[in-house]
């Protein structure tokens, strides 16, 4: 049977991708950022997941205002890096796992989640920057990826509680998939940032630290945080943090925090946070 062995939380700041793609990862400004993932790279090379369920949001790349799915699961064989005005990121094509993705779609719909199934979707920095942070610059990504796109651009996004519940439903789906697979789930986006208005540049390190603490030790409390609280404390784009709750919901309540990186200096406009959680006995 398939099994969720671990969860990863990480910011998906676009400029991290730019720094890597333009050979600036060793620059003094960027070095400490990438070094924060040195442990994680070794850890994941050791864990060798077969599939990563990658929870992220699209930033007006694959979806515009014409159609806004709350939860969209990518069931295709592959996903191309999305076009931007600057061009697509020079990273490998993302290979999907259609059998597991469709199985998750079916299982969660029967569990009364109203998923949108997507068979054609380009993936932007929200999905590819986490892959770069965890895997560096390989010729091919070393595992299959199931994109799970969450609306956090158009308010209202799903509630934190709904995200947490979806995580639980995804876990159930994975555990009923009839093939031995090591599955990870990643929650991406955040941490505190605000990209518009007179309050742009907001960073709330104290909130972020508490968020990391609760993500690890008291996710149920986190699931009750309201949208207004996110926006007030973590900035208008800090709402992305709800996606970490999908990851957390898919893990054991008692999952172990085995690594944390909370970078003190905002990366471009955004606070960077990263955590690895392992299920016991995995």
């Amino acid at each position: 049977m398939a099994k969720i062995i671990a969860g990863v939380a990480t910011s998906h700041i676009p400029n991290i991708g730019v720094a890597l793609d333009t050979g600036k990862a060793g620059d003094p400004q960027w070095k400490p950022v990438f070094e924060g993932y040195d442990y994680s790279k070794k850890w994941i090379a050791d864990k060798k997941p077969d599939v990563v369920i990658l929870v992220y949001n699209d930033h007006a790349s694959a979806f515009s205002l014409e159609l806004i799915p709350t939860f969209a699961i990518g069931c295709a064989n592959e996903f191309q890096p999305a076009q931007t005005v600057w061009g697509p990121r020079p990273v490998p094509v993302v290979k999907g796992h259609p059998e597991l993705a469709w199985h998750i779609a079916q299982s969660t719909i029967l569990d009364e989640f109203d998923m949108t199934v997507v068979n054609r979707m380009d993936v932007d920095h929200g999905l590819t920057v986490p892959l770069s942070l965890m895997f560096g610059q390989p010729d091919d990504w070393p595992c299959k990826v199931i994109p799970l796109a969450v609306n956090v651009v158009q308010f209202p996004p799903p509630t934190g509680n709904r995200c947490y519940s979806l995580g639980k439903a995804i876990r159930k789906a994975v555990e009923t998939f009839d093939e031995d697979l090591k599955v990870m789930i990643w929650g991406t986006g955040g941490m505190s940032h605000q990209l518009q208005g007179a309050r742009a540049g907001l960073i709330n390190a104290e909130f972020d630290k508490q968020f990391l603490d609760k993500l690890s030790a008291d996710p149920e409390a986190l699931a009750r945080l309201s949208h207004v609280d996110y926006v007030r404390e973590a900035g208008s784009e800090g709402i992305e943090l709800i996606m970490w709750l999908i990851m957390r919901g898919a893990l054991d309540t008692e999952a172990h925090e085995i690594y944390r990186f909370h970078y003190g200096v905002p990366v471009s406009n955004t606070a960077l946070g990263h955590m690895i959680l392992e299920n016991p006995r995995s």
């Binding site: 208005g197 742009a200 007030r232 406009n269």
Partner: protein, 129 residues
């Protein structure tokens, strides 16, 4: 009873892209989205006004685009991820576009970010201020 969208209005200097703003800014944002295509960027750059007039947005929105007044575009229903396609089409870094919406100078913004960003203290609530 405070409605869902009203509750955000207590937060200073912040515009939440809610259901009302999405309707207001639909064509402005879809115009920005159109700039993802190189042929559209070229025709926009060749004649900005003509391109903007082919999109059913308001005259105020057109003017804000012409002026590259991002704070104004936000107030007219723009969403930051859509507006980012316009600034990118100008070759402007996303962070500089963001900085242009704040009250200080671009240099002040960079300095603020390099020392940990804008503080939350005093920025939580209009009523608390």
């Amino acid at each position: 009873m405070t409605s869902y969208t009203e509750a955000f209005q207590d937060i200073p200097g912040t515009t939440v892209f809610d259901i009302h703003r999405s309707r207001l800014g639909y064509h402005l944002n879809m115009f920005c989205m159109s700039l993802l295509k190189v042929e559209n960027r070229e025709s926009f750059k060749a004649n900005e006004r003509a391109y903007l007039e082919s999109v059913p947005m308001t005259e105020e929105q057109r003017q804000a685009v012409m002026d590259r007044d991002y704070a104004r575009m936000i107030s007219l229903g723009g969403n930051i991820y859509f507006l980012g396609k316009l600034s990118a089409a100008d070759g402007v870094a996303f962070g500089d576009m963001v900085a242009s919406m704040t009250e200080g100078l671009k240099e002040d913004y960079a300095r603020m970010m390099s020392v940990g960003g804008r503080s939350i203290e005093g920025n939580r609530s209009k009523s608390e201020r």
